[in-house]
Symmetry: D5
Subunit: 96 residues, 10 copies
């Protein structure tokens, strides 16, 4: 089941650079693990921002909550979620 | 080059049903033609709405404008556009 | 799987009273059919408004879209959707 | 008398982890006490967020204020309240 | 139990003047009846607008819904509702 | 002359508890003094929030500014003001 | 007593040109009459818009309501009002 | 050339009182200097707020930027700007 | 003197196609005349919309108002204006 | 390919003055380098603000992201991006 998730990162300016680098590295590893597991199906940067547009493929709402709330950057992000389903005009196999 | 496009349809309540059906049929044919041409890469319905989330793959901003402004439903939609690019944490081939 | 759905009805002032009454009657029958089927788990009026707060229990996003987009009042409503899941502090059996 | 209450938690990033854990534990105990007392009728997590959707069942506005303002996380939450009442189309006993 | 209700009237420009006058007269009679019944405790015009700020004193949310949704201008108003209760610093008898 | 004033308190989380208690005590004394002087005619808590809805009765805009800007919590509040006047449908003596 | 009033005109596109011209002429006469009476102290066009910024000098809120609600364009305008008073740094005689 | 400028001051709560007093004194002197120079034509307090409404009379956009960005409180203010010009219905000499 | 002007066209759906074509043709001729006169310095389409971003070069606010309010599409557009001036980091001759 | 980029700087009030000066100097050098390279085609100050309106000319979305995210002030700015393309009414060579 697909969800569009938009995330905008806002690190507090007083966070030490090493701490920020550490969180970002953990975030990257976690994001790639979820991609390899087929849970994080797409991940794009929104050009000119510190935001991404993502497509998650999960079992249900509970799994979405588990995956998103465990993001290392979760406490520092504004997140919006849209549930998706097949569009009647879509002919792309990957859209289901 | 990728763009996320969100479209929300708002047909005027006084539009005759046949006219609405006609526009929607033309829209569907056009959307599928652009999908087959590889220009409209993804198309999802936002569940519980008359909106979609789409990913367009175009040559440049001018082609995006041409494709979107020729949508038969264009005069009846609220549309927002976000330019996308590869995310440094993405490992999905389809995200570039 | 649960979703909170908020619906605000906005009928065009020029709609004839009989037409409005007809749509509302069909809407009521449909809402009660979905409640009996266990799909529309809760339905409350927001006091002082022509809005409701609802809890849907569906198989997946696709079923949510099917049920909501078939509401007779769908073309005349502003609708917002929130995916829900069990809260770690909830002890109510009905919340899952 | 029913109210829908939406709460979004925003802890200050500089709060020490033990302090945050302490407040959350007190909050959980308090939330479960109110559920057992029949005052906090439903409690759901909004998937992909640090928010909840809740249904309170109270004597009057004053009791709502008392219960909500005593939440240990009250100073750290954005809260919105909607008064609810029975919907004419509802057939669910639990909705009154 | 008290509620603050703000109402902003927006009549469709195409409504005939006699029809508008008729609705307003019925609205006025209804508003004064509710005031005499002690249900509509305060009613002020917001200066420079076609809005009012009102204080309702009702048994519960259901009565608020009944009184407000029966306003003749109800279909033509944007309405917002805030549940009120006694403020710990208030010494005015009329505020409870 | 009447004004509706809505105030939402937002104390900085790092303010020491004693300092907060001190400001609140001064605020309470000041609010009650203005009520006794007939300047702060009504004061209600908005249920489920740290906000109030108030009705001020002042000589003119300048007095409103003087009274409001001297509130001990003034630097920590979001405040909105609406000038009020008699509503043509009001029959309540207290509304003028 | 001074108020800043911002007005944005939005005539319905279907209004006949002669009717619009008529309303505008009445509006102009009324605006100039209020200026001559010293009630409408300043009137500026916001460049690039169909809006104005105005300063009214009235006895009280009630007179503001009377003058503004009698504007011939009142039903076709979005209006916002701000009560003004002397600024402690102002040295301009005209600002009181 | 006239501009309406609205300024809302938001001093950080942790700023020491002497520092705040110092900035405000410099601001006041600067504001009065600009008024005497005929550049800051009007300055009003918005009643019930820490905001002002001002009318600047400058040579061009560049001078507006120079005057406003040199305000001692500039880093602590939210500022909005509207270019003004003569309204066709204005008869006040001071409005040009 | 430069201004950024953003315009979004919203034609009423019931406008006859010939009428719309006529207005657009007049608009185009007028826009090109202003470009040739050096008043409308830049004009870009916002991709995926019926909006433009423009840079006007005018004598003063009054000329901006005159040029913009005479646009044939003026009654059908949402317009926002930002006064511009030279940026201290700009080295482009055309930016002054 | 052109993009309109609006940037609003918001430095944390507690940043030391030397640190701020340092970042601004680096930003200025970087901005001028991109202008000389033909990537940052226009750069204007919005009068009365700490904001700019810019036109970037880049190869694609990825280059826009690279240039913007490397701005020294990037962590301290609110940024909005609009993809631009040639307007059918534009006759200015520089607009393509």
């Amino acid at each position: 089941m697909l969800f569009q998730v938009e995330m905008t990162v806002k690190l507090p300016p007083e966070m030490p650079a090493e701490r920020a680098a550490e969180i970002k590295a953990t975030e990257k590893a976690y994001a790639q693990e979820l991609q390899r597991a087929g849970k994080w199906r797409h991940l794009w940067r929104v050009a000119g921002s510190y935001s991404n547009v993502s497509i998650f493929d999960v079992e249900d709402n509970a799994e979405l909550q588990e995956l998103v709330s465990n993001l290392p950057l979760f406490p520092y992000m504004a997140i919006s979620v849209k549930p998706l389903c097949r569009h009647p005009s879509s002919i792309c196999e990957d859209d289901a």
